[in-house]
Symmetry: C2
Subunit: 459 residues, 2 copies
């Protein structure tokens, strides 16, 4: 059996930045690394082309009567910039203390290797283990999984699994296992207001027309109520209140408001009534401004009334909102409220459907939940409790992972998400690292999960 | 006598851009050009150094009992950028039709040469004309006349004139003389709001804190009422309503709302109640946003909650507002209204006191108005009526020229401003030009003004 840390080093050395064509060698390097790795385990490997970066599909195909787990991961990483803030070379993995540093160590090369190692150990111990296993490792996660849905549609025949099993999500401390059971959706759009046909001198023309910046301020200020809610008719209409068990799980995580406030560096929280900050992130939708642009952006003063002003907006969505419905509500409100004297242009940008998966035996578990999915949750609960010393906590998260809705829509499969990275792992930032203790526990947990699944048999 | 058009060509060839040290040769060239020009007229010339660009002071000193006119101008010009939008080389003056093209032709080299030529013609006709004349030509007007006030303070002994006479202001058509009798003042400031101590991911943290962009929108949206007035207590307290004669003069100018609306390219005007657009520009103060900055400014989407957001604000002021008082009102309102959860930083930027000068024999002419100033207005009215075929119109303008308040404060002198450039002269823009017909009428008018002043004698 290979040494997972040595393998991770080799994997991280492949500078697989999907966003930048300069890193093509790294992308190919990562594809070749995975191909060898999976072949060494006896898997059948397909490098499935897409419009940009291929997906690696590695399959252990046994008896149809065995359970079939599909393990998702991605081999692409974020760009390493800004390089001067790294303490070690981003693509030269370096161990310091209980961490391994390097771009992609935590997102998502380390976590994928946790599962590959678990599979390797399992097969070494029991080469005939009754389990069909498919690894599906994409190369465009960091650039929005643009071609992943097409890949899924075109390759359904390779992906007739029972559920998705994956670790591209986080935990809060190395001592507590977290299972992610939901992610918020998203709607992104940009509004642009145009006033005069060209920039004007604020002395010669100031005071006679609606300044697009003023219109932008008035329009954007109308989108929230003073108590912190989104002020758009219909916005909350389909929002489902969290179940008591969800609030209870969150409470178990023991998050402290004072710590969080200090981390953010803010003087006070601003959450809608009835929700503490940790609940608001997970259970409520948002409308956030991500950028305002208009007029003079340099040092000092320029007495200009700009022709145009614009705002970038993203909303995070929760079940059962849909991006389409929320977008319609926003566009309607913005169109109605746009101040007179400027013209409004709305550009629709990307969207993601919110995702939630309910573990078995909860107040809101769907009656028709797949028994295979329930088996996987139970396998994970058992293994996690044994290895981590206490049961996992089931939490929704505030971010968005659009591919989960795609997996559900195209393959009809839900995902069981075992968290493996920590807040201090610096994902997407300089000095990304992965905690070796978590890696070790993760391998042990994942091996037991797979054993438990095999033992349970086809659901 | 020199040919004024040939002299203007020579003057424009000196690329005297004050903002950019690369144009040092042009600045020195313009200084040398003026020194020779004034010496050729028999004037005593001082090149008075300042902290940056010197002021050219040229004096014809005769009998103390003669009237003393100080003619203001500036030899610096705006940068020529963007160069690719010029149809002719900016510093190679070119005549096409009834216009001469080149940077500085209208602002302010042509208008200054109008007065220099008028003086030259006057002295040629009557070398002993009983008039003290001082030209004061600065080199920093386009960068805010930063050192001009210090220059005035240090050189009062050279500047014991009766009034200022100048042409750095506009007319509306080549057929109607305009005398500018007021300019708005200014207060500039920047507000910066800081929320979290660093940029945050809008998925991981969205919905729990006041987004600085949202706070900026809410704060800025609070600064106007729906009817277009500035919504700041005390802002209008000292504003003086225009006199009926001022509205009547403006009416005489025959400006058309439809033409102006078409020029601006807006669907409707937005002026406070009781004022048409032409009145609002001249008689009302404003609060305009000149720039919003915050968050992601590039293409597409970035799911960031920025740490900071900022707005640049300038107010135009009218008599009897003061920059200090208005700034205090704004800072108080902004400080009180700043949303909770963000911290506010206000940076005070430049300011200019509003300026107004009332011609003689009006309802609001000061009782203690200087008779010399009244003489100059009368000399201008007479000359203007003779040359242009109808009396001048007296108008305030919307822009700000801070040096007028400096002249008033330091020298105790008011300014008589004969407009010479047209809206289509493209000041500060590519293809700046000066109308040769206006130039000719300007020279004739100015010579007659000076003759009338000499005839009137010391007031």
């Amino acid at each position: 059996m290979f040494d997972p840390i040595e393998k991770l080093k080799e994997y991280v050395r492949q500078a697989s930045v999907s966003a930048d064509p300069k890193f093509k060698d790294g992308m190919v390097g990562a594809q070749n690394f995975l191909t060898s790795l999976f072949k060494d385990l006896g898997f059948k490997v397909d490098v499935v082309p897409t419009a940009l970066h291929p997906v690696i599909v590695a399959r252990r195909v046994g008896n149809k009567a065995w359970p079939h787990v599909i393990i998702y991961g991605h081999y692409d990483v974020q760009p390493p910039d800004p390089l001067n803030q790294w303490n070690t070379a981003p693509f030269e993995p370096t161990i310091k203390g209980e961490r391994i540093y390097g771009r992609g160590t935590a997102d998502n090369k380390g976590p994928l290797l946790v599962h590959v190692t678990a599979v390797g150990q399992l097969l070494e111990k029991n080469p005939d283990v009754p389990l069909n296993i498919t690894f599906m490792v994409e190369g465009e996660e960091e650039i929005g999984s643009k071609n992943f849905k097409s890949f899924l549609k075109a390759n359904r025949h390779l992906l007739d699994g029972d559920f998705i099993y994956m670790s591209d999500n986080g935990i809060l401390s190395p001592d507590q296992m977290i299972v992610t059971v939901g992610l918020r959706g998203m709607v992104a759009l940009e509004i642009e207001l145009t006033g005069p046909k060209s920039d004007l001198h604020s002395g010669m023309h100031g005071g006679v027309l609606m300044n697009p910046l003023q219109a932008l301020a008035e329009l954007c200020a109308s989108l929230h109520t003073p108590d912190g809610r989104v002020n758009i008719p219909g916005f909350y209409k389909k929002v489902v209140e969290p179940e008591p068990w969800e609030r209870a799980q969150l409470k178990k995580a023991g998050l402290k408001k004072a710590d969080y406030q200090k981390f953010l560096g803010i003087s006070k929280f601003h959450t809608p009534p009835g929700y503490n900050p940790f609940e608001a992130i997970r259970f409520l939708p948002t409308l956030e401004f991500n950028g305002f642009t208009g007029g003079y952006q340099g040092e000092g003063t320029k007495t200009v009334i700009p022709s145009k002003a614009s705002a970038k907006i993203t909303c995070r969505l929760v079940p059962n909102q849909t991006p389409e419905n929320v977008r319609e509500c926003i566009i309607k409100a913005i169109t109605q409220r746009c101040p007179k004297g400027v013209t409004l242009k709305i550009t629709e940008q990307h969207k993601a459907t919110p995702y939630v998966v309910i573990p078995p035996d909860r107040s809101n578990t769907p009656k028709n939940q797949s028994p295979a999915l329930a088996n996987c949750f139970r396998a994970l609960e058992k293994a996690g409790t044994e290895v981590w010393g206490k049961p996992p906590i089931y939490l929704r998260e505030g971010g968005s992972v659009g591919l989960l809705a795609d997996l559900k829509e195209v393959l009809g499969l839900d995902a069981v998400m075992m968290g493996l990275f920590l807040p201090e792992d610096n994902l997407h930032a300089p000095n990304e690292s992965f905690h070796l203790g978590v890696m070790k526990k993760g391998i042990e947990t994942s091996r037991r999960v797979l054993e438990n699944l095999a033992k349970a048999g086809k659901a």
